[in-house]
């Protein structure tokens, strides 16, 4: 199988750095959670039941006629790959930590460009996920709902008149929809407006997380903003709400960037250049520092202060400098200090290669 490609290379469609407002919105993700009727949720499913779920859902992708638009589809069963490859898929955001570590008869279906990832036997039987570069909330939803329709044509979903699509966790019930944008907001952080903005966001039914989802910390000025409410709003309302709030945050970030340039160009240039210098020459680099310095360089490039690497290279570096990917690139096992050394090496070489 050619599935090695998914774990050997870092670059995914969502990292390409194109798409609308891609200087601020790195990527957009829409996820739909569904379950099959009459089978317990993965939490309680027996081995036999979860393998039945797997079989039934995988058989749907034989519907080539309706899936024509999606190109070739690759199925990866989690039991067929080792822990390192699982970790790499998590770092690329193609699967969740939950699917990697906890699932029974778990699998993921990927499109060739990795913009669609369909997880089976995660917390719910089926999780359809579309991952797009830049700010494309509506587009990602269109794609996800089209796939949802195809699955629905073949399997009976657990659905209730009153509660909507039934999910294992009460926070997903109703639409089962979670839409999110990953935003790079360095100027709002530097000008100390971020907390005010994030608390405002939480008052309109949205929530903010780090880039690796629930419970993860915001590193490198990257914030994942998503809808909190899934019940009692239509999908269109949820999508439009996220869209319009994200638009406003983009505006605020743009204004803050402009203010930085107008009021403290020398200071910000110095900061960007220092980070670029350190990334270009450092021999040891921990993940937190790497994320922060990469954020500085990205901002410098966006502001035209620095002729640095393209944003796709930066996106790729963010993923490639994660522990799993480093091990994959430089050898099977390394301790944390070796990891910091290899991380520094990888960044140095990447920056040297891309003037």
């Amino acid at each position: 199988m050619s599935n090695h490609r998914f774990t050997d290379t870092a670059l995914s469609e969502w990292m390409r750095g194109n798409g609308q407002d891609s200087d601020i919105v790195i990527s957009t993700r829409v996820r739909v959670a569904r379950n099959l009727q009459q089978l317990p949720f993965p939490l309680l499913a027996t081995n036999q039941q979860s393998s039945e779920v797997l079989e039934r859902l995988i058989s749907v992708i034989k519907d080539r006629e309706r899936l024509n638009d999606f190109g070739e589809l690759h199925v990866i069963k989690l039991s067929d790959i080792d822990d390192l490859d699982k970790r790499v898929l998590v770092e690329k955001h193609l699967i969740s930590p939950n699917l990697a570590n906890e699932s029974r008869n778990g699998a993921v279906i990927l499109t060739e460009d990795e913009s669609v990832s369909i997880m089976i036997n995660e917390e719910d039987h089926l999780r359809i996920q579309c991952l797009y570069p830049g700010f494309q909330v509506r587009e990602a939803w269109e794609r996800a709902t089209a796939l949802d329709d195809i699955f629905e044509a073949h399997v009976d979903y657990a659905f209730d008149d009153k509660r909507g699509f039934l999910t294992s966790c009460p926070t997903n019930v109703g639409t089962g929809l979670r839409a999110s944008v990953m935003m790079h907001l360095p100027a709002l952080v530097m000008t100390q407006q971020i907390n005010r903005i994030l608390s405002a966001v939480s008052q309109v039914g949205l929530t903010v997380r780090g880039i690796y989802g629930e419970g993860s910390e915001a590193v490198g000025n990257l914030f994942q903003i998503s809808n909190q409410i899934t019940l009692g709003q239509t999908e269109a309302e949820i999508i439009e709400n996220l869209h319009s709030v994200a638009l406003q945050i983009i505006e605020h970030e743009k204004n803050a960037r402009q203010r930085l340039i107008n009021e403290s160009k020398l200071r910000i240039t110095d900061r960007v250049m220092r980070s670029y210098g350190i990334l270009s020459y450092a021999a040891v680099m921990d993940s937190k520092e790497a994320a922060q310095r990469l954020s500085d360089v990205r901002l410098g490039v966006d502001l035209g202060l620095l002729e640095g690497p393209a944003s796709s290279v930066m996106n790729e570096l963010n993923v490639k400098t994660q522990p799993g990917f480093l091990q994959k690139t430089f050898g099977e096992s390394m301790n944390p200090s070796e990891r910091d050394m290899y991380r520094a090496k990888l960044i140095r070489e990447t920056l040297a290669a891309k003037p």
């Binding site: 570590n101 659905f159 509660r163 909507g164 639409t175 989802g213 629930e214 419970g215 409410i229 019940l231």
Partner: protein, 174 residues
């Protein structure tokens, strides 16, 4: 510092939990922390939404469980998968789709808190959800009917009334 759980390995994860101003510190080694499902950054266990939720789920909506007719939380059980309400409130997750039915008395306050709403208004399965779509359409038409009557547009109102009847007939015939 040594892990407070196993007392053997060095503690590498330290965190502070503050609940209502009451501060508790934890020091675990990685493997004990994982076992306890406490904070491991980037994984989905940790102080997840589920543990947060279980705080909400413990609430007895009827106050003291005296609500006439409603079973006390301890004995409430899903006949389909066997999950009890108290298990559900610990795990923060349902065991199967029937749990929604067996726990239904207690779910409105929960959904109200989490979502601010208790009923779904979004997408409906195309193949199996036909009736729901019709019902929703009827609700919409009834609202419009009221509006037209208030506006004294009786001809339009009559047309709408006929459409409602037709849709209702469709539902009755399955």
């Amino acid at each position: 510092m040594i892990c407070q759980e196993c007392g053997k390995r060095p503690a590498t994860l330290h965190f502070t939990k503050i609940v209502n101003g009451e501060k508790t510190e934890f020091h675990f080694c990685e493997s004990c922390a994982r076992e306890k499902g406490e904070l491991i950054p980037g994984t989905s266990n940790g102080f997840s939404i589920h543990s947060l939720l279980s705080g909400l789920l413990d609430l007895d909506p009827s106050g003291k469980g005296q609500n006439a007719g409603a079973k006390p939380a301890q004995t409430l059980r899903c006949e389909e998968c066997g999950m009890t309400y108290s298990q559900f409130s610990k795990l923060g997750r349902f065991g199967c789709s029937s749990c929604y039915k067996y726990f239904s008395d207690r779910l409105d306050p929960l959904f109200k808190r989490v979502h601010g709403n208790t009923s779904h208004v979004g997408k409906v399965p195309k193949r199996t959800g036909g009736v729901i779509q019709l019902k929703r359409k009827i609700e919409e038409l009834k609202k419009e009917l009221q509006f037209r009557i208030v506006q004294e547009e009786f001809e339009t109102a009559a047309e709408i009334r006929d459409r409602i009847r037709e849709l209702e007939r469709n539902i009755a015939q399955g």
